[in-house]
Amino acid sequence: MTHPLYGTTAVAGVGLRQFKRGASPLPERSLLVEAILDACLEAGLNPAEVDGFVSYGDDKNEPVRLMGDLGTRRLAWSASVFGGGGGGIAGAFGLAASAIISGQAKAVIVFRALAEGASGRMSAAVMAHHLNDHLLAAGLVSPAQMCAIRAQRLFKHYGVPQSIVEDLVRASYHHARNNPDAVGFGQDFDIAALRTSRWIAEPFRLFDCSRENDGAGALLLVSAEHAQDLAKPPVYLLGCAQGTEAGWGDLLENDADDLYATGGFRPVARDLYRQTGLSPADIDCVQLYENFDAQGVMSLIDHGFCTYENAAEVIRFDNLIAQGGKLPVNTAGGNLAQGFIHGIGLPIEAVRQLRGESANPVSGVRTCLLAGGPGAPTVSSAIFANKVL
């Protein structure tokens, strides 16, 4: 039997506003309103008809406060995925779809907005969600350090060659170079800049870390039938899974030994593939949340694209780029080089890629995996497609 999430809802519009960190010309909530208006405009849907909202990562913009600006007539449903990091980003689509399928809402905006003036540094906010005296005493106060300590095990215990993260970074900048909306637009990225950038927390240097931006992103999800009547070609949600399982979580570094150097996606990927009947071979491109490049590698491994043993054969620049690669990753530049509004740029690129609007189009693309924030106590992933396969 087909899973209820399979192809029953679709993204009908997207909106993205992005600025340098601390440089937003508008207040955070106004940025969000603009992104939502853009998403509705693309779809040809009156923003007053949006009746549901969902976010993740402790977004501070409670939807009821958007009603005035959007002219909302009826706020029927609002929710947020638990978790302070980007782990919940894909899960937000599953939640939105559940609301639509069950008749609780008809037009749901999935969003994330972040401006330093209103929300402070994102990395600090994520960490404040998790901080406790065990971490403080060890001097471990940032996502960079928590992910670094996991990355050490990936490289030093499992022997994954550290050089492969460079290929992921290079592919991200390669894609950003062609994308006018990316922070890395038009720039040549010299890998020596990564190798010689200052240490943050070993094994991470500055350019191993994602950049924070001010901005907001919004995606409009409606039923698949409704999407047929709207302006843009529908991008269908084929499946979504979130959470974790025993052995992984908020465990003060006591995750199961065989899971410690993962992104935490094994149960999520397993359920997502089971739910959709798809496998890694069916995925034409990946929008990969990489808070840090090593965690991006773990996420690709967790999702079955490679193993600790053969990671270096798969995670190669030529294989990761849209122009001829078998596993195109982060075709807008990703969190590293497109910009980082807590990952919301990734599903937006998934939609643009599947519509054929990407700055780095993947030839013949049908499916796109969205992998949420790796290393979080709960994570999520989703698969989108431009046809219901």
Binding site: L136, G139, W199, I200, E202, N254
Partner: protein, 134 residues
């Protein structure tokens, strides 16, 4: 330090205050449990007993921090944080390492601990500082 007495791990902090490492195990099936909780996930029993463990461990993983993050103002840069797997119980604890040697810590390397404090704002949090075992 009162907020450290509010959680299920209060005996851990009380132990460090008196110079001892105390860790919890299930009163029924004896499984070591960390983070400290209320109910054993293996056998379902409620009730922990706290037992003292020697400050001996192996390095499970580590990072050396070079960037001045907020809340680390009292620590000299760079400093090494480790995840230490405590001998004979498998519980992993986060701590810091004396970094007198320029060598990187090695995963699996034996370390011994002493109890010191980490100043964060007005607080001084009891902390295990690990050194390479002689």
């Amino acid at each position: 330090m009162n907020h450290r007495l509010d959680g299920a791990d209060a005996p851990y902090w009380q132990g460090l205050e008196t110079g001892r490492l105390q860790l919890p195990r299930c009163a029924s099936c004896r499984r070591w449990l960390w983070p400290a909780g209320h109910r054993c996930s293996t056998c379902g029993s409620i009730g922990m007993v706290w037992e003292e463990r020697p400050l001996r461990a192996t390095v499970y993983s580590w990072t050396r921090t070079w960037h001045r993050f907020a809340l680390t103002e009292a620590l000299d840069l760079p400093y090494v944080s480790i995840v230490a797997e405590i001998e004979d119980c498998g519980i992993r604890l986060m701590g810091r390492m004396d970094d007198a040697s320029p060598d990187d810590p090695a995963i699996g390397e034996a370390v011994v601990g002493r109890i010191d404090r980490t100043r964060v704002g007005d607080d001084a949090i009891p902390t295990i500082i690990w050194s390479r075992a002689a």
